[in-house]
């Protein structure tokens, strides 16, 4: 989404990254549960320079009706970037990229949500990326989990998410925009720490089989950090800060 800068140093000799982080350090993350009045559940996340708002509606009647399922509720997810979220204006209509990410996030949330409890209904998750800076799908997935919990939707676990990747032949946690553009690999991961299940996994970039295994593990460690912040956000709303 940004230009390529061939001169940028992604990892210096002291193991410090282009934004000053250590290799296993995530960006600054702030999650807030609730915030929207009309939505049944909502969440707001700041993940580095990403700013993402999520609203959840349902379980509610399914429109169009033919989409409803008599055996189970359905989950629908729309991931959308607002036109001013990136450097060059993004056309407001959903791109192929956004349609794919919507599908991937939906399939990452489905294992967590007890949809069978609500046959013939839909749970709608609307994700709006207000500002994007690399790793939006992970930040969006983490916020969507909190919003679903805030809506009181029964869940087996929350899905935490964080990316791992490779820059300067080193496996790193939480790939930012510059590292995604100029780095060697980006692997977004969605993970349910309670159930120890990976529900979102993508990769682009070349990894050896050993790096592949390491990358998944580094990403899962990142998910566990995010998981604590997700629980904290819910605790702050519902228990006034205590857990």
């Amino acid at each position: 989404m940004g230009g390529r800068d061939a001169t940028m140093v992604l990892l210096d000799e002291n193991g410090i990254r282009c934004d000053g982080r250590k290799i296993d350090e995530p960006r600054k993350i702030m999650i807030k549960a609730g915030g929207l009045k009309n939505a049944d559940g909502s969440a707001y996340i700041e993940f580095g320079d990403n700013k993402i708002l999520v609203g959840v509606f349902g379980p509610r009647d399914v429109h169009p009706k033919h989409m409803s399922d008599t055996d189970t509720g359905i989950l629908r997810v729309r991931y959308h970037m607002v036109p001013f979220s990136v450097g060059e204006r993004k056309r407001p209509a959903p791109s192929r990229r956004e349609i794919e990410i919507s599908k991937v996030i939906k399939e990452a949330l489905e294992p967590a949500v007890l949809l069978k409890k609500f046959p013939r209904t839909a749970v709608d998750v609307f994700i709006e990326v207000l500002q994007a800076d690399g790793g939006t799908r992970c930040a969006a997935l983490a916020a969507a989990s909190v919003a679903l919990a805030d809506a009181g939707i029964p869940m087996r676990d929350m899905v935490a998410a964080c990316a791992a990747g490779k820059v300067a032949d080193t496996i790193i946690l939480d790939v930012n925009n510059e590292e995604d553009q100029a780095g060697q690999a980006d692997m977004p991961i969605g993970y349910m720490p309670g159930l120890e299940k990976i529900t979102l996994l993508q990769l682009d970039g070349v990894l050896t089989p050993e790096e592949y295994k390491k990358c998944v593990r580094v990403g899962i460690d990142g998910c566990k950090i995010v998981y604590e912040l997700q629980k904290k956000a819910l605790a702050e709303k519902y228990f006034g800060g205590g857990s």
């Binding site: 990769l203 050896t208 089989p209 295994k213 998944v216 899962i220």
Partner: protein, 271 residues
């Protein structure tokens, strides 16, 4: 891509029962892909083409090569794009009209596997820097759908690219002009191979066929390059994978992919 029916659910009972005994309905081992048949130069008007049969799944890929304007920050590289389309004659459930999310995902996953492996040497495909580059378009059409379109389209696109011959253009008066030079094969750096695995009732199966595909709990597509490195991955479906399963799928993708790569190498050698 297909709608899950009552019949599919009945078949699932049978599939799960067989998997419990380490068996599959068509007699394959759990880690065994279907036979791959690759026929190249099926469409002579395309600059490269291939017809792939993966069991009863049939796809055709044609490669067109033509000059194009580069993206603003990519003026020193040729362009590559891979698409996939489900033809209405490929399955009774396919409807005409704009592609839905599953088909968009299919096209993007096939594209990403080839792109991220750096199969094509795009730096060789510049006509005039920042003004005109060579565009390589690999368009897949699914002719018959019996499951695992990801791998069928990926093999067809890769085979078509291996056989593709690019014409040459010169930059004359601010426009690309086709030369009389004989077309030459495009420069290939590695051969990507995708391997798709499904999960049903806790069992991991390689290359699910149509009946299995309709009832998968989850799936994962992993693309490897000629060095045995992993270069692209996509998880899909409504369930998750454990860390051990992810490790095992990575190993399977290298092992199964190496067998298919030999067939693609034979295609390349035949040119």
């Amino acid at each position: 891509m297909t709608v899950r029916s009552v019949i599919d659910d009945l078949k699932r009972t049978q599939i799960v029962e067989l998997l419990g005994q380490n068996k599959r309905a068509d007699g394959r081992a759990l880690d065994e892909a279907r036979d791959v048949k690759i026929e190249v130069n099926a469409i002579p008007k395309a600059e490269g083409s291939a017809r792939v049969q993966l069991g009863d799944t049939v796809t055709v890929c044609g490669v067109k090569i033509q000059p194009d304007r580069p993206f603003p920050d990519m003026g020193d590289k040729g362009m590559f794009m891979c698409t996939a389309e489900l033809l209405p004659l490929s399955h009774p459930t396919v409807e005409t009209g704009p592609p839905g999310p599953p088909v968009i995902e299919l096209a993007r996953v096939v594209d990403r596997g080839i792109r991220e492996s750096h199969m094509l040497d795009l730096s060789q495909m510049v006509i005039e820097k920042n003004k005109s580059v060579v565009g390589v378009f690999a368009d897949n059409v699914v002719v018959d759908n019996d499951g695992n379109l990801f791998d069928a389209c990926s093999y067809a696109a890769t085979a078509a690219l291996l056989t593709a011959k690019a014409p040459k253009w010169n930059w004359v008066d601010e426009a690309p002009v086709l030369t009389e030079d004989a077309p030459v094969p495009i420069s290939i750096l590695t051969i990507p191979v995708s391997v798709t695995m499904g999960k049903i009732d806790g069992h991991i199966i390689v290359d699910p066929d149509g009946d299995e595909w309709a009832v998968l709990d989850a799936r994962i597509t992993i693309t490897t390059d000629s060095d045995g490195n992993i270069c692209a991955l996509q998880k899909g479906g409504s369930d998750g994978f454990t860390l051990e399963e992810i490790d095992r799928c990575g190993e399977l993708s290298v092992k199964v992919g190496a067998v298919v790569r030999e067939k693609l190498k034979a295609v390349q050698a035949g040119q």
